[in-house]
Amino acid sequence: MSSINTNSSLFKEFIQNAVTSPSPKVQKNFMEVMGSIVQIFKKICEDEKLIIDLEYKGKDYWKKAKDFKSCFVDGGVYSNFLSSSAPFAIRAKSFIIKPNEFGKNREKFEDTVGYFGDLYDPNNNIYDLSEDPYEDNQLLTKKKDAARITFEMAAVVKHVFNKQNFKYCFLHGPLQTPIMPFSGPEFPLFKKNVVKTLVPFFKLNDENDLDRHFINIYLNSNKYIQKAKFPIYGIVERTGSTIYLRNILIRAVKKGVLAEHDYDKTVSLIKRYKINDGNLFELILKNSQALKPIEVEKQIPSKAWGDWQNAMDSFPKVFVGYVKTNKNQSPIRIESLNYPKKLIEDYEYILACSKLLPSYGFPVGLDIVDKAARIPSWLGRTAKGYYLKYYLKIALDGNDKNTITSALKSISHGGRSWQKRPKAGKVSK
């Protein structure tokens, strides 16, 4: 009540607006724009024959698909960046299943690749700190992201390298990520042994340090898995990407059915109205319909730092499609590095796997491996507690008041909590 009292005039207006006509103009306008955009894109998709119908007959389908051996890959990360240390754990797990087998042969949860260390520690690190020219802590998040992307890809690489006889392999997430953010000159290299472990097919050139750079490792991994004997798909839910709709427009421009200036205006409009592949194709596709994959370019060399423009140019193109797996969810994005040889068959498998998670509408195998790979919060919290206690112990052992204060500040979850701390105790300011 006191909160309402202090905001009484605003509250009154807000409620009045909400119950009478909540933002009538902008909402109506959004609906009109969205409706028009949907009509245009629906027509383009139909003209281009991009929409396909998939079939799903639950029991009959799984009777047939029980012989398929499939692999689902996802990664999990634990990081805790303190000023004293940056413990970091990462793993990529695989859930491999062939329903028709029994017992242990039926399913396997595999720690395909994993690492635990400290991003500050030169001896226990995946990055080569001797080659880290800036030693800038701000890069910790980027280092973490690059490691995650590399490890997930490495799990797929490992399956290809080991010549697994999968019917399908799925990665939770995009199969190719824009690597522009990692192209800056300060980004460190992976250690040699890490490269050897993660990408065993890769022949390192000792004289070329940049061979161990994330972009190079990722590029080579992409090229390597592109040649896999089994289809590999990256699957993304809740997509906010505009890559498909933009590429449709580009195709239309190339065909001459859309003027370039109209393209620019449309792209600008899409940005302003926050229209993306997810909310647009949710309105266009019906349940169990899909959009055929189209070839897109994920890397934009012009945006990369100089040395890496060529590398970005040589990344395989990505084929992106969408499948609407249920009535209520946005379609999920399917990525592959080759155009699917058996498009309908493959997409129907993805649809069937998603039907087993009928509300979420996402392949259940990826949901399962997501749970298996995720490093649980209780483990993270406990680990953080130990790190902080150890830090404080060292500070107390040192008997230096300033160090102790600094350690206590770290424990107190940031500046505000520290300001509000109880003032009792013998530790001086």
Binding site: G58, K59, P99, N100, E107, L357, V364, A372
Partner: protein, 582 residues
């Protein structure tokens, strides 16, 4: 020290104990939880956990903590609920899909039973736990031999009797203490078909082996099989089958008065006064049939009324102010009582006639001939079928009172004995059921309280425990609890038994025939037992109900055919009757 070594060092195991799980992080003195290896144990199993305890001397000792698995919860975090919805609606077999089947996590809740210091010694005493088990410790599945050793430890001096096997482990035999059973009373409860008779036969058979005198009150003839079969199995034993003779001790006219009061018509104050006058003036000799005595009362009442009508005061001293009509009412009431008792006696007799091959004897006078009822190597069964609850209660009360007096006054007349009272709710009804006038209540209360001193043991058997007198039940030191579905009965069990928890109560409706909890002083620890079925002691004449076949083979008698025929003819006549007014 490794997990195996701790228990291995402390014990001389008859065979290795299997590691089945690890204790979770929070434990208490009463219970703990552990992560179970797949399919390595089940609900009801007794498991052992290694732990450490502080001693009074400041030392810490290694112990084995024993407990029973009360609950197992299995979860598969990798099997989304939504997926099961799809499987159900689409009729898909999970085996055909990519859903995982091997990721079940099972967490068990264990109720602690106590601890032992050593399995290797001769005596393996189970001591109440006073310190929680150590989190992270191994949980083991003890071998059958070692478990049997624990359950039956300390039984040697208590005359162990075999009752069956653990429900959860058929290879573990369970024994109970016969000494504690015959002296400290047992309550046996379970719904119809739960296995009460299975238990009674088991207990009776084992006590017969020990030549212990047994008296069974049998309102339904459930124990006639013992008579049929035990003669062959126990040729040296006396198996006596009695039918009751309703009589009372000479000085106990109160019992007679109650019986007349409850079975007869409701009387007014002057009518009661006259009834009392009759009882005071007509001698009752011990052993006389109560029906004969009532007949005398009726004669005397009639002649008094006659005299009154004739205005003669002959023989009416003390009742001269009573009117003839009052006397007539008392006579009518007495005739009603006589009729009822006679009918019950006849009903009892006709039931006996169904077993022509069995020899029924009239119950000897318990005052003058108790040795004919209670003797070493004798089983006496009093067949009460046909008698309503009040006369039955009277019969039980009179008999037990007399036998108990013989034991309490002089220990030489009859030996200690064990009494089995079937349908106990009819003899010790609870206060809410209205126990006024049931003479057996006070008698059984007395035996329940003092019987141990004089070697009079009770085994009360009932299918409706909530209808039993709570005071008597609280004196029962051991319990056999079989299947119970009625919520009020389950609540009674919770109220009456110490240390009873809800998890145990949940098992009650699910027990199979002959399965139940054996608890109290007859056993070291409460156990869920499958009682051994003595099929060689069952009654061939009273098998399972087979009414469908009875009807299939039903043949109408000559009388019923004739009755139908006549009835049909009369119907026609009635229909043609035109003189009947509309």
């Amino acid at each position: 020290m490794s997990k195996e070594n701790i228990i291995g060092k402390m014990t001389k195991l008859s065979s290795p104990w299997i590691d089945i799980g690890t204790i979770l992080g929070q434990t208490s003195i009463n219970e703990y939880m552990f992560y179970l290896k797949k399919f390595k144990a089940k609900k009801g199993d007794i498991v052992a956990a290694e732990s450490k305890l502080p001693t009074g001397e400041g030392k810490v000792i290694d112990v084995i903590v024993w407990g029973r698995i009360m609950e197992i919860v299995s979860t598969n975090d990798f099997l989304p609920n939504e997926a099961t919805k799809e499987l159900t609606e689409e009729n898909i077999s999970i085996q055909d899909t990519i859903l995982p089947l091997t990721k079940n996590d099972s967490i068990c809740t264990v109720k602690n039973l106590g601890y032992t210091e050593n399995l290797a010694g001769k005596k393996m005493e189970l001591i109440p736990l006073n310190y929680p088990v150590s989190p992270g410790g191994a949980v083991k599945y003890p071998s059958s031999q070692d478990l049997s050793k624990l359950l039956n430890a300390d039984m040697k001096g208590k005359n162990p009797i075999f009752i069956g096997n653990l429900v959860a482990r058929k290879d573990v035999d369970v024994y109970v203490s016969a000494d504690n059973m015959v002296s400290r009373h047992v309550l046996v409860i379970g719904m119809t078909g739960a296995g009460k008779s299975v238990w009674v036969r088991r207990a009776v058979r084992e006590l017969m082996e020990k030549q212990y005198p047994i008296l069974i009150f049998d309102p339904h003839g459930d124990n006639l099989g013992i008579v049929q079969k035990a003669k062959k199995l126990f040729p040296e034993h006396e198996i006596k089958l009695f039918y009751p003779k309703i009589s009372a001790p000479k000085n106990n006219k109160e019992v007679i008065f109650t019986l007349i009061e409850r079975l007869g018509n409701k009387l007014t104050e002057p009518q009661y006064e006259f009834l009392n006058w009759l009882l005071m003036n007509i001698e009752y000799e011990t052993g006389t049939s109560l029906i004969d005595y009532i007949k005398i009362l009726i004669q005397r009442s009639n002649s008094a009324a006659e005299n009154k009508r004739n205005k003669s005061s002959n023989g009416l001293r003390g009742a001269s102010h009573t009117g003839a009509s009052t006397m007539g009412v008392v006579s009518r009431s007495l005739r009603k009582v006589e009729k009822k008792l006679t009918e019950m006696e006849q009903s009892n007799k006709s039931n006996m006639d169904k077993f022509p091959h069995l020899k029924f004897e009239e119950l000897p006078d318990p005052y003058s001939q108790p040795e004919k009822i209670i003797a070493k190597s004798q089983v006496s069964i009093l067949y009460l079928k046909g008698y309503e609850s009040l006369p039955s209660s009277t019969i039980v009360s009179i008999l037990l009172e007399s036998l108990f007096n013989h034991r309490s006054v002089s220990s030489n007349v009859i030996p200690p004995f064990f009494t089995v009272l079937e349908e106990a709710q009819n003899f010790i009804p609870s206060k809410s059921e209205g126990q006024d006038g049931y003479p057996s209540v006070s008698t059984i209360k007395k035996i329940a309280t003092e019987g141990r001193k004089f070697g009079v043991g009770l085994m009360l058997v009932s299918q409706r425990p909530y209808r039993l007198d709570e005071t008597v039940c609280s004196q029962m030191n051991s319990y056999i609890i079989l299947r119970l579905k009625n919520e009020r009965d389950q609540n009674f069990v919770k109220k009456t038994m110490e240390n009873w928890d809800n998890e145990e109560a949940k098992q009650l409706p699910n027990f199979a025939n002959g399965q139940g909890i054996v608890s109290g002083q007859i056993t070291n620890i409460p156990l869920t037992v499958q009682i051994k079925f003595d099929d060689d002691l069952t009654n061939d004449d009273i098998g399972d109900e087979d009414f469908i076949n009875d009807v299939k083979n039903w043949k109408e008698t000559y009388i019923s055919k004739s009755k139908k025929l006549l009835s049909g003819k009369f119907d026609k006549i009635f229909k043609s009757d035109q003189r009947r007014p509309n």
